[in-house]
Symmetry: C2
Subunit: 225 residues, 2 copies
DNA sequence: AGTTCAACATACTACTCGGTATGTTGTCAA
DNA sequence: TTGACAACATACCGAGTAGTATGTTGAACT
């Protein structure tokens, strides 16, 4: 009988924390949607709360400030990206083949988790513009580091592909920027159509990745599987 | 003696209007810089005025509202783009050669007139998000038309190049988006270095255009001049 | 049954910002 | 010299907003 209460205690602790996390996740979704729709500065906490049918109290119970809420959406978006490319980043095959799979997964992410990814984009801009309070600046710096590491993964792969003779480009830094801007571009021009299915998305993803692959100078016939 | 006063009158009218326009141009520059630095929503009229060493009165004397000021920066940015590509858009040569010159001029514009072009970018986003008042919406609609016409010029050229067998891509609409996102990308990652000259900019422009050209499937050896 | 506490809602404050109403000044025509 | 007007500056108002302080409630725990 000593183990049961202990187990139940942990179960309920998990369920309790899970309930709180569930509410936080709901807030996070609403915040992502609101920040995407109106941008950070034009979005008010009341807007987010209204879209939830709640009031500010709920949000300030979970987040100390608007900036922290935004940062958490940023973090969640980046974690989604890491989780998405994890299965393919260490897969077997040539560097260019790995890159192609990573690029497709990444681009699909931009479409499927668009609200979060637009917050990531705006978060990067806010940081680069220095539009952050000193306290938030170090948290944003961590998130930027997180994001730069993600970029470095791609950069390593395309540099390896270039060394293997399967890509050709000049400055890796500039090329990384061009690559991400291309792969991320659905953030700005993709709008979900009613009755759209996964096939339609795959068609778009293919075009985006093909364009970017050619831009990176992928050798003709190198891994078109 | 009848012609002299008339001439002087016109001269002074021109000088007078020119002085007013000069003040407006100064305001426009400051507004573009401010909107670029902080974004539309986070920029206040007082911010713009402060950066001019003036007060709100000066701005509201020339512009009826913050939105109109923003729209005028938008318009000015687009006019710069039209003026920049005018000499090359109707030049002789193949479509792909015309495209390359247009692309280089356009990309250079993104770097040289960056504050204005970032406002153009944000203006497009504001319109697409519907973050405009009903009155401003029709002015923004005109500006969007203006911008879409500009995009159509490029689209016609790349479609012609494809028909000539010098490019290969699928959906022209998607491809146009990808092309502009690539060419515009210096807006987001270029930062002027101290002591940078025109050569350095040309190196960047070349990389951006090369990447985009390959992305558009420009045939190997087709116009690398 | 009573206590505690998480998860909110409500009420309020201090402050910013867009816009307006009005005052001031230099300039130019008559 | 004097009105008129453009080009601002100054003073002010109302609306919205981030953040806080406090009230409320249902559920778990004892």
């Amino acid at each position: 009988m000593a183990a049961r209460p202990h187990l139940t205690e942990r179960e309920e602790e998990i369920r309790s924390v899970g309930a709180s996390d569930s509410s936080r996740a709901t807030i996070l979704d609403a915040a992502a949607a609101c920040f995407m729709a109106k941008g950070y500065a034009a979005s008010s906490i009341d807007d987010v709360a209204r879209s939830l049918g709640s009031t500010k109290g709920r949000i300030y119970h979970h987040y100390p400030s608007k900036g922290d809420l935004f940062a958490d959406v940023f973090r969640a978006g980046m974690e989604m990206n890491y989780a998405a490319i994890r299965p393919v980043r260490d897969a077997a095959g040539t560097a260019v083949a790995r890159w192609r799979r990573m690029a497709m997964v990444h681009t699909r992410q931009m479409i499927v988790t668009r609200p979060y990814q637009r917050v990531v984009w705006e978060g990067v801009e806010l940081y680069l513009r220095g539009a952050t309070t000193p306290e938030q600046r170090e948290e944003f710096a961590r998130l930027m580091q997180y994001r730069n590491d993600y970029g470095a993964i791609f950069r390593q792969v395309i540099v390896a592909a270039r060394e293997a003779g399967d890509m050709r480009f000049e400055d890796p830094r500039v090329t990384e920027q061009l690559m991400f801007v291309s792969l991320n571009s659905p953030l700005f021009w993709y709008t979900p159509r009613p009755g759209e299915n996964e096939r339609d998305i795959e068609v778009i993803v293919a075009q985006v990745v093909d364009f970017t692959a050619r831009g990176l100078g992928v050798r003709e016939g190198a891994c078109n599987g």
